[in-house]
């Protein structure tokens, strides 16, 4: 265990990334860099209709169809279901389609150009069925597209008795907030390469976050045992949750084509297909009803949180869960009710994306807190200060805050770093004239690290450490490097705990034939949960060497290496493993949704400064302060990179990125028309950490990856409200919305002036 007396040598320092050299020199092997002899190229023929019955598939003239491998649902040897949580989504549509990007048929050919051309010559006749496209239509349930009522999942958290409070409240404040879909836009589109061998079974390699999810999905597809389904991660160029569940689909498709043709088959999506067909962030709608006392205490919070899951359940239930648990924000309140629903619509399924439900519900609460403060006549910072969770308080689910927590201090520090008070005063003076209005706003929030509730207990993650004859040590886990720095931090933790050098630790790229199942690389769990297992396995490995008297305390990295060599020569293989054990005092009730929702929360305050141009409605960010408490920072450069990247992605979410839907499909599936911010659009992002080591995390670390996605959107809209005096409750907030509200406000002002006269 990490203790303050132990001076860390490697953890907390900015060691170079393990894969940096391979990436910058171009030797890193992404899936599209891999070619196998006799390989075919595969493509997917998609439905093009939001909801319909397939009547007939026919193949056009002028294409040498006999040269193609063609797979439909009827070819599938096992179960035509993408195994995940609910068994509802087929690999290939069988008779019925439920969204416009639904895969119907697969083609493979030696010639990449030929197969793309052939795709345009497959014609499918449909009998259209009525379709639904938004939350309201889903809830009205006039057309049922999923289950009995279009509902994938419902949760209800109840703490205290909300309904008993309304009559005693000095104020009741209501608000409605909504968010739209967002595309992950990883640099490398999805891709897989599959091979089939009657002896060894299926092997797929590709771009992914969760190799064991892919394996679990392919086993029933082919009726094969685990040892005959091998999944290998290639270098992965970004994921952000977008490669959590979708790779199972494309891996299944490539594998079906390989199985039918007997040849290796590669499938690589281009950007347009990737944007249109793969998962996005769930659109959401949140309603708040909040009771407060005149002196600014939260008395009751009644929250309704609804997300649009698209056509199939995929991960909607877990996204909903995280959004539900975060919906009340970092505030103490004795009476909280959160009712939440995930509904079905005829769009491609929405899925995992950095933050996983929390950015949606935290956007709502952090806008709503400003509204409540305004109603009370308090500043947003003072109202929050009176209601922050503190050590010893309990969250919405009744989770006791055991760690030291001083959000008031965190808020104060962030506001000071941003020059908040001065700017507020200065901007209100400047804004009296001119067309460029300045504003400043902030948000305070948290993000739970690791799987929700009993999730980590069910996963039973395992990590192995193995010393090699040359004295190096290899970390074996299923954690994937996708740009976030997993390999680097796991090697840092292992090297630190072993007392060897960073260079002497290798991290094996996940291959289900070689690594144990340490669960998926999601939910900000790698550093905190898996890092901790690496640390434990490292300590056992060191202990073996000490017990064998091959090492004496105070050893050098060189002595450690020779001890490993000697152990392997004279005693045998030097391997250790560690399995997840729940920290003591953790209880979770899945039925009532009560208890310790997460091992730990990370906490943050974000402050945004904006200029709104009232001529065009454009919003420019001038400054951004991100202050967070994430436990111990394992690698300061990677940590800052996570925050900067998350803030940039969240700025896109707040102000730029809008999916234009047309009949359930994405109409702007090109980077020209789906607008993500460029470096020119981003402010200086000033990143600060408070470090309070978490005793059950690796070397004191908590989760970090998703946290920075949660805060920027409400902070920015709070700043816009400060600049214009107009409260916006929907993201993305585009110049079109701003200009339209400004003209409404101007007309209202004219009317008022008119009525006075």
């Amino acid at each position: 265990m990490y203790s303050k007396s132990m001076e860390p040598r490697i953890v907390g320092t900015a060691v170079p990334r393990k894969e940096a050299a391979a990436k910058v020199t171009g030797t890193a092997q992404y899936v599209d860099d891999v070619s196998l002899p006799g390989m075919l190229h595969g493509v997917t023929v998609r439905s093009g209709h939001p909801r319909a019955l397939i009547r007939h598939i026919h193949f056009g003239d002028g294409i040498p169809w006999h040269e193609f491998t063609i797979v439909t649902a009827r070819d599938i040897p096992g179960r035509n279901i993408v195994t995940l949580i609910f068994d509802d989504q087929p690999f290939l549509a069988d008779g019925e389609i439920n969204h416009p990007e639904e895969p119907v048929l697969l083609l493979a050919h030696e010639n990449k150009d030929m197969v793309r051309r052939a795709r345009q010559h497959v014609f499918i006749d449909y009998d259209p069925l009525p379709a639904i496209f938004d939350i309201d239509e889903a809830l009205q349930a006039k057309t049922i597209i999923w289950g009995e009522d279009n509902v994938f999942k419902r949760y209800c958290i109840e703490k205290g008795d909300v309904d008993a409070v309304w009559s005693q409240a000095d104020f009741i404040v209501e608000g409605e907030y909504s968010t739209e879909a967002q595309e992950q836009l990883y640099i490398e589109p999805q891709g897989m390469l599959a091979t089939w061998d009657p002896e060894t079974g299926i092997t797929v390699r590709g771009s992914m976050q969760c190799p064991f999810y892919v394996q679990k999905a392919l086993m029933p597809l082919f009726n094969l045992p685990a040892e005959k389904v091998r999944v290998i991660q290639q270098e992965t160029g970004g994921a952000f949750g977008g490669k959590e569940e979708y790779p199972s689909m494309i891996a299944g498709h490539a594998a079906l084509l390989a199985w039918k043709s007997g040849r290796p088959v590669k499938m690589i999506y281009d950007r347009e297909e990737d944007m249109a067909a793969t998962t996005k962030r769930h659109p959401s709608r949140t309603r708040h009803r909040t009771a407060v006392s005149r002196d600014g205490r939260l008395l009751a919070m009644d929250i309704e949180f609804i997300i649009d899951g698209g056509a199939y359940a995929t991960l909607s239930s877990v996204v909903l869960s995280r959004g539900t648990i975060h919906a009340a924000g970092p505030y103490r309140c004795d009476n909280i009710r959160v009712r939440s629903t995930a509904v079905a619509t005829n769009t491609p399924p929405h899925g995992a994306f950095r933050g996983f439900g929390a950015p949606q519900s935290l956007f709502a609460i952090e806008r709503h807190m400003n509204k409540v403060a305004r109603t009370l006549g308090l500043t947003p910072e003072e109202f929050r200060r009176r209601n922050f969770l503190r050590q010893g308080d309990s969250t919405a689910t009744g989770q006791l805050i055991k760690q030291p927590l001083d959000l008031a201090r965190l808020q104060q520090r962030a506001l000071q770093l941003a020059g908040y008070a001065d700017k507020l005063e200065r901007f209100s003076r400047l804004n009296r004239e001119g067309t460029r209005k300045k504003g400043i706003g902030f948000s305070t929030f948290m993000h739970g690290a690791g799987f929700t509730g009993s999730g980590e207990r069910h996963l039973q993650s395992v990590v192995h450490l193995e010393a090699r004859a040359d004295g190096t040590v290899c970390v074996l886990s299923s954690m994937t490097e996708m740009g976030q720095g997993t390999n680097t931090i796991l090697a840092q933790i292992a090297a630190e705990a072993l007392g060897t050098s960073y260079e002497q630790v290798q991290v094996l790229r996940p291959d289900t034939a070689q690594v144990p199942n340490s669960g998926p690389t999601v939910a900000s769990r790698t550093a905190m949960v898996i890092g901790r297992l690496v640390q434990s396995a490292a300590l056992s490995l060191k202990e073996k060497l000490l017990q064998a008297a091959l090492l004496q305390p105070g050893y050098t990295p060189e002595q450690f290496q020779s001890a490993c060599r000697e152990y392997i020569c004279s005693i045998g293989p030097l391997k250790t493993s560690a399995q997840y054990e729940e920290p003591p005092g953790v209880h979770w009730d899945d039925e009532k949704y009560r208890g310790e929702a997460y091992g730990a929360f990370s906490w943050a305050v974000h402050v945004a400064e904006v200029t709104v141009d009232t001529v065009t409605g454009e919003i420019q960010l001038d400054d951004f302060v991100a202050l967070q408490e994430v436990g111990r920072v394992l690698n300061p450069v990677l940590a800052r990179g996570q925050i900067e990247g998350g803030v940039a992605q969240a700025i896109g979410y707040a102000l730029y990125e809008k999916v234009v839907w047309r009949d359930g499909g994405m109409a702007n599936n090109q980077m020209t028309n789906y607008i993500m911010p460029t470096a020119m659009d981003l402010p200086p992002i000033r990143v600060y950490f408070e470090e309070i080591p978490y005793e059950h995390g690796a070397m004191g670390a908590k989760g970090i990856g998703e946290l920075p996605m949660d805060g920027p959107a409400p902070a920015i809209l709070n700043a816009v409200e400060n600049a214009l005096g107009i409260s916006f409750c929907h993201i993305p907030l585009l110049p079109e919305d701003v200009l339209s509200e400004l003209s409404v406000a101007r007309e209202a002002a004219l009317d008022l002036a008119g009525s006075v006269v």
Binding site: D113, M114, R116, V615, E618, I675, T678, M680, D681, P735
Partner: protein, 283 residues
């Protein structure tokens, strides 16, 4: 890449006459390719036989005479941005060039290509309209010059025959004493397609507007010279009432649409606001 490569033929012309010969035989010109290759990538490029004019020297230079500057159709945005005389006398064109696409686009993309692609959102078009540009078209049958403001006939319809090539763009050197204004409103600060692009010049005599030219892009099926609004302003002195009247006039004159990039109302409102901003600089 969604096109079937073997469907296409590409020939690089070394001389202007070679290119004209091929156009006469039904080939289509490609210059920097920054628009055509996007169509190609999407599998939507209708022309199968392409002649590249990028290496044609006669099309790649900027020439100065006493009365005009002539820009070859294959001159790149980067070349324009860096040209000292253009920077001095036609700064709006250099600004528009600097806002077009990315640096990589500017290194390949050409002014002629921008005109012939005929996007109503082209950043250089409003500038060429307010600078009274003339286009020189050439074919095996000879050359002709037409005012740029008459060139666009309708959405992607132009006064140019299939065998003709845009040879050069002529800008009259009479920009002295003119006040000028330009603004691009796009969805982000770089690599953006305009929601509205707006350019204007004016010359004042005393407090009165002696001469004014206003043009906007992305607000009509073609790059729009706003003659009606100009006539409201010509000869008048700037006043709050005049600014309001002119803003109403331009709001009526533009015919924007709602598409996946913006809305009709936004484009109309922004155009009026930009005009106001321009007129306020004259006051």
């Amino acid at each position: 890449m969604r096109s079937f490569v073997p469907d296409y033929e590409l020939v690089v012309a070394a001389r202007l006459n070679d290119a004209l010969d091929m156009l006469a035989e039904g080939w289509r010109p490609i210059a920097g390719g920054t628009d055509l290759m996007v169509l190609f990538n999407a599998g939507k490029l209708p022309y199968r036989k392409l002649v590249s004019i990028r290496r044609v020297k006669e099309l790649s230079s900027i020439e100065e005479s006493e009365t005009e500057i002539s820009i070859g159709a294959a001159v790149t945005y980067t070349h324009i941005r860096q040209h000292p005389v253009l920077r001095q006398e036609f700064p709006l064109l250099c600004s528009a060039a600097s806002w077009t696409g990315s640096i990589a686009n500017q290194n390949r993309g050409t002014l002629g290509g921008n005109i012939i692609n005929a996007s109503p959102a082209a950043d250089s078009s409003p500038v060429l309209l307010v600078y009274d540009a003339e286009l020189e078209l050439i074919s095996l049958r000879g050359t002709r010059r037409i005012p740029y403001c008459d060139f666009h006939l309708g959405y992607k319809k132009m006064q140019i025959r299939d065998d003709e090539l845009l040879r050069s763009i002529h800008l009259p050197r009479k920009t002295e004493n003119r006040r000028s204004y330009i603004r691009k409103v796009g969805p982000r600060q770089a690599q953006a397609i305009s929601k509205v692009c707006f350019a204007a010049t004016a010359r004042l005599r005393g407090s009165a507007i002696d001469e004014v030219r206003i043009a906007a892009g992305s607000v009509a099926p073609v790059p729009l010279r706003c003659h009606a609004t100009e006539s409201v302003l010509r000869g008048q002195s700037i006043s709050p009432d005049l600014i309001e009247t002119a803003a109403n006039a331009i709001a009526a004159e533009v015919q924007p649409i709602t598409d996946i990039r913006s809305t009709r109302d936004y484009r109309r409102a922004v155009t009026a606001n930009l005009l106001k901003q321009f007129l306020q600089t004259l006051a």
